[in-house]
Symmetry: C2
Subunit: 335 residues, 2 copies
C-alpha cells in the first residue's frame, strides 16, 4: 500500500479506501490507483490469484484410514513432491464410512480442488465416476478393487512380492506355510494368494487349503487367524501376511502363546512400513516403495493438471524382499 | 446456467458469456442476467464464496514430522472435529528443516487460511510471531519449548504423567530406574525428568545421575541410550522413556542383548500411540489423550475464527497410566 501510495502521490488511507471499495475518493484518483494496483497484480491472497486462473492451489488426498503405516509412507512422498509445485495438501479420511465418503465428495465438488489423489482400495459412493464426470484430474494409488485403465493408477508389483515371500520361506525349508490374506474381493489380495500358490506349485509342494485364511488387513485378523492356524492338528511353521499390521497381530498371538519368533514360527509381512525395523524381532517383509509411489503419483497428477500427457496410465514400482530377523529354518526342516 | 437462461429469456450461450465476462452481450441484457445470477448467489465454487466472506474454508496443520504415532493420533481428533465445521485440513510437515519451515510460512502468508494448528515443539523461523502479526488465529498443540500465554495452547498433564510412571515402577520394587528423556531444552522433557526426581525423593530413593540419559524422542536414542545404561557397572532394572518411539528402541536394544521384557528389564513409555498394544510384549505406558487433544484444539481454533472468546488460553488434559505387560517386579527386588 505504501508503495502504491508513493507511486500515485496519494495517502495510504486513500489507497486503502480504493482497495476496500470505500467511498470518499474521486473517480479520477480511484482509477489512477486501480491501474497501479493492477500493474502490481495486487490480490489479497493467492486463493484469489488461483481463482482467476481457475485453480485453487490445493491437492486433495482421500484415504480410507489414517493408520500411521502404509498411509504415512505414501504421504511422505506426496509432501516431498508438492514442495516444488506450491500446492497445499488437503487430507481427508473416510474411515470406511459411507456417509463420511459422501460428505467428502459433496464438499470436494462444492468447493474447489486442482486434483485428487485416491488412497482407497474401493469406494462406496461412486467417487471415481463423479471425478471423471466433473473432469477433476485424479490418480489412484495402491491396491484397487479391480484393474482399470479408465483413470491413472500407480501400484507396486504385488504378485511378484507374494511370490518372493513364499519362495523365500520355501528356500528356508518351510513346507507348511500359513497365509493370512486381505479381503479376497480386492485384486491385490488375490494377487498375493495366487503368487503363494504359484511358488508352491513351482516347488512341487501341495497347498493345504486349511492354511489359507482371509483377513481384512487389520491387526486383529493377524491375532485371530494365527490362533486358528495354531489350533490345526498340523500347524504351519511359517506365516505370510497380507500387510505389516497383520504381521504385528501374528507377533501378538505368538507372544500370547509363548512361541518365539523365528525359532518357533517364522513370520513375513508385506509393505515395510516405518515400524517394522522396530519390532522385536525386526520383521522380515516385502517392501512396497511407499514414498516413491506417493511421489510418482503426485508427479502424474501435476502433469494432468498442467494438461501434459502421461507416459502410461498404470505404473507399477518394484517390490523387494527385506530380510531382517523374523524368519529362520523350521525346527525339524530339511533342505 | 439453463435455469438462469430460462428465467431471463436468453440463450445459455449468452448466460455463459456474461458469467465469463466475454463480449457480445448488450449492456441491458448483461445487467439483467447479472441480477438473476446474484440472486442465485451463483459462484463458481466454494472458494470464491469463502473469499467474499474473507474465508478460505481451510485449516492448516503444520507439524514437525509425520511419524505415524503421536501425530496421527492428534490428526484423528482434528479430522473428527472438522467433520461438522466444513473446513478442509491442509497438512504440512517441516521435517525440522529451517528452509522447509520458511517455505511453509511464506506459502501460508501468501495464500490463505482460516486458521492454523501448530504441532511444533519449537520453531526456527518465528512462525508464531508471524501468525500473531498477521492476525491469523492459531492454537498450539502439545509440547512447547517455553510456557506462554501469548497464544492458545493445549497440552496434557506431562509432569503428572512422569510422576505416575516413576511411582509405578517404584511401587513394583524398582530402585534403579533409568530415564531416557527428550531434548532438555523442551519444557515438557524437563517436566518428565523433574517428576522422575520428585517421585524418587518422595520415596526416599536417591537419584543416580548416571541413570539419566538425554535423547531426542527418536527410536535411535532408545537403542543407543539403552546400551549405555546396560553398560553401567550397576545397570537399571527398569527404563522410563520420554515417548513410545524411544520405548520401541529400548525393546530393540534389549532384543539385541537377548534380555527379556519384563523379566530381565521393565519398560514404560509415554504417549500411548496406536501401535503400543501391538508391541511384543504390549507396552505399559503413560497415555496422552491425543485424539481428545486434537479435537479440543480444533474446537478452540474454530471459536477463535468465529470471533468467540476462549474459556482459557491454556488447557491441559489428563494423562493416565495404561498397564500392559512390559513392567514387572525386578528379579532381586524386595517390596
Amino acid at each position: 500500500m505504501a508503495q502504491i501510495a508513493q507511486e500515485t502521490g496519494v495517502s495510504i488511507t486513500t489507497v486503502s479506501k480504493v482497495l476496500n471499495n470505500m467511498p470518499g475518493v474521486g473517480n479520477q484518483t480511484r482509477e489512477r490507483i486501480q491501474k497501479v494496483v493492477e500493474r502490481y497484480d495486487y490480490v489479497q491472497n493467492h486463493a484469489a490469484r488461483h481463482l482467476r486462473k481457475g485453480q485453487s492451489g490445493l491437492i486433495d488426498l482421500v484415504l480410507m484410514r489414517l493408520e500411521g503405516g502404509y498411509d504415512v509412507g505414501i504421504m511422505h512422498g506426496i509432501q516431498d513432491a508438492l514442495k516444488q509445485s506450491g500446492h497445499r495438501l488437503v487430507v481427508f479420511a473416510t474411515n470406511e464410512d459411507e456417509s463420511t465418503e459422501r460428505l467428502w465428495l459433496r464438499r470436494l465438488l462444492d468447493q474447489s480442488t486442482d486434483g485428487v489423489l485416491l488412497l482407497l482400495p474401493y469406494e462406496q459412493v461412486g467417487i471415481t465416476d463423479a471425478l471423471l464426470a466433473q473432469h477433476i484430474p485424479f490418480v489412484a494409488i495402491g491396491d484397487r478393487n479391480e484393474p482399470t485403465t479408465a483413470f491413472p493408477t500407480i501400484g507396486s508389483t504385488i504378485w511378484l512380492g507374494g511370490y518372493t515371500a513364499t519362495e523365500y520361506l520355501i528356500s528356508l525349508g518351510h513346507r507348511r506355510i500359513g497365509i493370512i490374506t486381505g479381503p479376497l474381493h480386492l485384486m491385490t489380495s488375490r494377487a498375493r494368494l495366487a503368487a503363494y500358490r504359484e511358488a508352491h506349485e513351482r516347488a512341487g509342494i501341495p497347498v493345504d487349503p486349511a492354511l489359507i485364511c482371509e483377513g481384512n488387513y487389520l491387526l486383529g485378523d493377524g491375532i485371530q487367524q494365527t490362533h486358528s492356524l495354531l489350533d490345526l492338528s498340523d500347524p504351519p511353521t511359517a506365516i505370510f501376511t497380507g500387510n505389516d499390521a497383520q504381521a504385528t497381530g501374528v507377533y501378538q498371538a505368538l507372544y500370547q502363546r509363548n512361541i518365539s519368533i523365528p525359532d518357533g514360527i517364522s513370520v513375513i509381512g508385506f509393505d515395510d512400513v516405518m515400524y517394522t525395523a522396530q519390532m522385536a524381532p525386526p520383521l522380515t517383509t516385502i517392501r512396497q516403495p511407499l514414498m516413491e509411489m506417493g511421489k510418482m503419483a503426485t508427479h502424474m497428477l501435476l502433469n494432468l493438471i498442467n494438461g501434459q500427457p502421461l507416459d502410461s496410465n498404470h505404473i507399477e514400482l518394484s517390490t523387494s524382499l527385506v530380510i531382517r530377523n523374523s524368519c529362520a529354518r523350521p525346527r525339524n526342516g530339511s533342505l
